[in-house]
Amino acid sequence: MIDKFFNPGSVAIIGASDKPGKVGRVILENFLKKFNGRIYPVNPNYDEIMGLKCYKSVSELPEAPDLAVVVIPAPGVPAVLEELGAKGTRAVIIISGGFRETNTPQGEMLEKQVKEIAGKYGIRVIGPNCIGIFDNWSGVDTFFLPEEKMKRPPKGHVGFISQSGAFASAIIDWMAYNNIGVSRAVSYGNKVDVDDVDLLRFFIEDEKTRIVLMYLEGLKTSRGKEFIKAARELVKVKPVVIYKAGKTSRGSMAAASHTAALAGDYSLYKSAIKQAGLIEAESFDEIMDIAKVFLTQPLMNGNRVYVVTDAGGVGVMLTDALATQGFEMPRTPPDLREELRSILPAHCIVENPIDLTGDTDDERYMKVLEKILPRSDVDAVVVVALPQVPGIKGSLADYLIEAKSKYGKPIIAVAIGGEEARKISMKLESGGIPVFESPERAAKALKALYTYSMIRRRCD
């Protein structure tokens, strides 16, 4: 079990420092700011750091800390790990680099020692060569990038697993900027022990996490099947969005057989991702677009999408984009057509995509949506609200936010433009209606929701 990493009662920081800018200082500050448990700095050169008693060594600590964070240079790490093992600590994050990633015999040897010592004592290790954990709920924060450089996002429900530390900090910073709440983020570096499989399993039971984002370069040898198994369990309860980096094929195996030659790395990962029920994002934008939809929208019952627009052109673009993603855009059925005809001016188009035209106002949208949303043959609605038309004043946004909970089906919006578009987007997004700047992005994000809805249906 790896729960102790995320919810320790006490933590030791080995290599804590009072020198501004040092990793050992930033991490200590992080814990002082948000962590409620006991904090033990360890460093033979200090008696006290930032008002806390500093211990000369692990053996001097008054208790076996639940979690230890190691930031000393690599050659000293095995000895410290040995001490931690003897003391009784069973969760260790090794931030320090200088191991296998250096491709040197010394680095390899140090990593092997770490592995052996961890195995001997049953210590679970995250790292080495990583930025570790950012946990918004417990205050465990080993991301050694100071707050003024990397903003911390608000408490929330997005979990994040990243093979890359730099990518993890960039995305956390981005989520803070966009006010997206994060539960816990983990970057595991060389994954000498704790890996993707352990983390997927951890997130199954983690009540604070409602969706999981994942950046993966490659799995450990022979872990593929376990990965698929753990992912399958996780997607039964929450969606997982994965970005697989490193898509070029390895090619070197080519000669052995026909099949081996075609089994490029990425094609196997792609199949495994599909088999596991993960949602694959193909770009950074897509990861965040999909996350937005998953965080706010209920699942879809089917693939029938209606579009309501004030711009015919964008309606057509959306129709293309939705069809490309495999959605059905049903023709407006006769009964609905008649109803819409009776409430709309003659120049409006009642055929899906329903075009309210440039002289529409908020009320016209609401009247039409009230007819469409309750219908059982409508699975999702995309609202295009180009705010440049004079009649759009803002009550549409309030209506959409309310309608989403009232009718329990996905509503997303497309708003293109400058200042006004930004204003309406912010209002909608704060009320749980995701807004996209292009029809293509909206369609792709909705497709992810549909795909996951079908995966969940298959699980139930």
């Binding site: 040898t221 593929g224 099947k225 057989s257 099949t259 075609l262 094609s267």
Partner: protein
């Protein structure tokens, strides 16, 4: 012999590639539909078996030392009666002996040629991360030029296998094309499932190619099988 014995025997002889008749025996054991093959060592023996095997007959030289059989005269197709078959075997043994004097010859593989169907490929390989994986694609340019194939990590259930079929871009060809009747997708899917099981149960196998598999409206048949073992 069971697959286990065949594999063990090959490894004992220092071979990492199963001979053609051994590969056929292994896939047959897993219920993969393939031609009935015999290995003969003389024209006389071939003549006595020809009627039982049925026509047209194909002959292929069996040797652990020859990988490009046709380059040394080791392939003959479309033989239509006992005399042609007997002469074919004798000629083949003679030609191969003169063109590849150092090759060890096990004999000549003899089987009834399968009628032409839609050529598909089923392959399997053991991946360092995912373990056994199985590939499916259409034969010829579809695999070689367009790389239009799909993969699944084993174990593969039949529904996964059917999904593999639907996943390739040229799927429609399986459903019938230019007057061709649709092929039996169930039969192909079952062959994929069997290939997956074969890989699961024989960790010594590094890769397998069933290429081509002839797909027909009512069945499917692997007409060539290539099995590579892991270097010990």
């Amino acid at each position: 012999m069971t697959p286990r014995e065949i594999i063990k025997n090959a490894l004992n002889e220092g071979r990492t590639k199963l001979l053609e008749h051994e590969a056929f025996q292994v896939i047959k054991y897993y219920g993969i539909n393939s031609p009935d093959v015999v290995v003969v060592t003389s024209g006389e023996e071939a003549r006595s078996l020809a009627d039982k095997i049925g026509y047209p007959v194909a002959l292929k030289i069996v040797s652990p030392d020859i990988s490009h059989k046709s380059d040394v005269g080791g392939v003959k197709l479309n033989l239509k009666n006992p005399e042609e078959v007997a002469r074919g075997v004798d000629e083949m043994l003679k030609t191969v002996r003169s063109k590849a004097p150092n090759a060890r010859l096990v004999g000549v593989l003899m089987y009834r040629m399968a009628p032409q169907g839609l050529e598909v490929i089923i392959g399997g390989v053991r991946d360092g991360i995912f373990g056994p994986v199985v590939m499916f694609g259409l034969g010829g340019i579809f695999v070689e030029v367009l790389k239009d194939v799909s993969f699944r990590v084993s174990p593969i259930r039949k529904e996964d296998a059917l999904e593999m079929l639907r996943e390739i871009k040229s799927y429609k060809i399986l459903e019938g094309f230019r007057g061709q009747p649709p092929v039996n997708k169930d039969a192909i899917a079952e062959m994929i499932v069997k290939t997956s099981r074969l890989l699961e149960e024989n960790p010594e196998i590094e890769s397998i190619d069933l290429n081509p598999v002839m797909a027909y409206p009512d069945s499917a048949m692997a007409v060539d099988a290539r099995i590579i073992l892991k270097r010990q």
